[in-house]
């Protein structure tokens, strides 16, 4: 359980961050936490589920659009509850993933490189679709998405300020992170590993490989959908870039650099890459993207487990001995 000790330390450090880093960076970090949630979802489906999805942002975007449509009152003007929006965003993304997953994995199914290319093509299709869906704002997207409104027993509180927003999102991310970790440590996690490494043997033991794949695909989509829903409330708008190809591949880079087979490493990969990006892109200007591309290449070739996962694993193993 060293692993969760380190995770607890990291979340404690994040919780202590706002007074130290000031208002502007707290706002930035809130966004990075949401990206971290997207990274967690990708790590779950790719690193643990063995499904290389090149379009993870489609679930993020679907969640974001559903949240925007509901909280703006575009569906039912009287019901604009943030809770309903979050639940619908997760459910919508999960249902889409379920249908897509059934199409992709049932029967002979497709996997590996074919799956990567097909999910890439689907993300491109969805991005084009949203760019031209004028009912949902088209290219400009949906503006003026309200912030999250928390209501407990009649009292309500809107998350406008940076610091309360940060803590609300940190709590959500922590719950999802530790929940997913617990799930992966359970028998389900074991089945997932078996499904990734030896699907034929798992099938011969009487498990349905299809059901396991569908469950992890949908679960990861629900998490990505939640991340998307949180994201639109931060920036106040939902645009086609949320659903598309660029964000999908960025998420892949964070997770690959961090370490896809370790939730914590993937999460930190997103946060650290984004932080580095906002610092270093000022110093290096346009060279930053070049550096990122090269760093990504090197980390894939030399450290297939990820730049952060390798030292993190050392840390946990070193203490065990």
């Amino acid at each position: 359980m060293r692993n969760s000790l380190i995770a607890l330390l990291i979340f404690a450090a994040l919780a202590a961050a706002p007074p130290v880093i000031g208002g502007y960076w707290t706002g930035q970090l809130t966004g990075y936490l949401v990206y971290g949630l997207l990274a967690i979802s990708l790590s779950l489906v790719w690193g643990y589920g063995g499904i290389l999805c090149f379009g993870q942002a489609m679930f993020f975007g679907i969640g974001g659009y559903i949240m925007a449509v509901i909280t703006k009152g575009m569906v039912l003007p009287d019901i604009t509850s943030s809770y309903l929006g979050l639940i619908a965003a997760m459910a919508g993304a999960a249902l889409f993933a379920l249908a897509l997953g059934y199409f992709l994995f049932a029967g002979r199914g497709i996997s590996g490189a074919y799956l990567a290319i097909i999910t890439l093509a689907i993300a491109l299709v969805l991005e084009r679709l949203m760019n031209n869906w004028y009912g949902l704002g088209g290219y400009n997207g949906l503006l003026n998405v309200p912030p999250i409104k928390l209501t407990f027993f009649g009292a309500s509180f809107e998350l406008w300020d940076r610091v309360p927003t940060f803590y609300a999102i940190l709590i959500v991310v922590a719950v999802i992170f530790f929940g997913t970790t617990a799930l992966l440590n359970s028998a389900y996690g074991l089945r997932l590993t078996a499904c990734r490494t030896h699907p034929d043997r798992l099938a011969s033991l009487g498990y349905s490989v299809l059901n396991i794949r569908l469950s992890v695909f949908s679960l990861s989509a629900a998490i990505a959908g939640l991340a998307g829903a949180l994201f639109v409330t931060l920036d106040g708008f939902a645009s086609p870039t949320l659903i598309g190809f660029t964000l999908s591949t960025e998420a892949l880079i964070w997770v690959a650099i961090g370490g896809k087979e370790m939730l914590l490493a993937a999460f930190l990969g997103a946060i650290l890459t984004r932080t580095a990006e906002s610092w270093l892109s000022e110093i290096f200007g346009d060279y930053w993207i070049l550096i990122l591309g090269i760093a990504f290449m090197i980390s894939v070739v030399l450290l297939p487990k990820g730049l952060l996962a390798t030292p993190l694993e050392k840390l946990t193993e070193g203490k065990r001995r």
């Binding site: 002979r108 097909i118 689907i122 299709v125 591949t249 591309g293 290449m297 070739v301």
Partner: protein, 286 residues
């Protein structure tokens, strides 16, 4: 009929270029199982070699010779420095070449700027036959592409190199046992694939908008063509390219280009899902 003919010719020229791009991808994918996500960027660099050559006052033909040489050499470097180390991890090649594509794209942005460049047409005449007229360069482009595609098929089907290459594709270990240097075959196939992309880029540079982002617009249709046609036989690329490029461009005449693109991607995804071995059949991906 005289209205449909130019449309048909436009579609054919797009399909031929797409096939040329996809052929390079296919050689690399079919032989080594390597998904080269940077292939679109190599195509784009071919076009920029042409831009640079014209900027330096060189004739069009010189650009056409330089582009495959420069891009082929780049391919040699990429194979030596990157691909060689990850042959045994096919899925990681997707990620590594994706990193490469980001780096190459940004390198071009840094040296040429993000805006689109123009390349002057080497032949600005039009061919007129009665009521029908068509830009001469596009006809030349089609002829050259067709010859190049034919030449690549000839190389892989009729020559000793091609025989060895196909042996390596079909049975890598047996081929190696029989004394074929598979490492060398991989390297030169990769170089041929990249050089083809560079040449294709230089060829189309005068008739499309040349900008650092142009690669993706050919990479994804290129991959879909391979998978639709079937990754087993080289001829699959012809079928796949005709379906993906042809249907999309023909539809764009009647419905909006965006709707056409969405339709053709969905059609391709359906075909790949229902018939993973492709229209022509053959082997599934490793």
């Amino acid at each position: 009929m005289s209205e449909l003919l130019p449309v048909f010719l436009d579609v054919t020229s797009y399909v031929l270029i797409l096939v040329l791009v996809a052929l390079g991808l296919m050689i690399v994918f079919g032989m080594m199982g390597v998904i080269n996500m940077a292939h679109g960027e190599l195509f784009m660099i071919g076009a920029f070699v042409m831009v640079a050559a014209q900027g330096a006052g060189l004739p069009f033909l010189a650009g056409l010779v330089l582009a495959p040489l420069v891009v082929g050499f780049l391919g040699l470097l990429i194979e030596t420095a990157l691909i060689r180390h990850i042959y045994h991890r096919p899925l990681d090649t997707i990620l590594a070449t994706w990193g490469l594509s980001i780096a190459l794209k940004q390198l071009i942005v840094l040296s040429f700027g993000p805006e689109s460049q123009s390349v002057t047409l080497p032949l600005d005449g039009t061919l007129t036959l009665g009521a029908f007229s068509y830009p001469l360069y596009r006809l030349v482009l089609m002829a050259v592409s067709a010859v190049l595609i034919g030449g690549t098929f000839w190389l892989f089907i009729r020559t000793d190199f091609g025989l060895m290459a196909r042996a390596v594709i079909a049975r890598p270990t047996t081929a190696a046992t029989l004394g074929i240097d598979t490492r060398r075959m991989y390297r030169w196939s990769f170089v041929i694939g990249t050089a083809l992309a560079g040449l294709a880029g230089a060829l189309v540079a005068p008739i499309i908008s040349v900008d650092p982002q142009m690669g993706l617009g050919y990479l994804v249709p290129g991959f879909l063509s391979i998978l639709v046609g079937g990754a087993g036989a080289l001829a699959g690329v012809l079928v796949g390219g005709a379906v993906v490029g042809g249907v999309g461009n023909l539809l764009a005449v009647w419905i909006s280009p965006v709707a056409a693109l969405i339709t053709v991607y969905i059609l391709a995804i359906l075909i790949i899902r229902l018939k993973p071995e492709g229209i022509l059949g053959g082997r599934r991906a490793k």
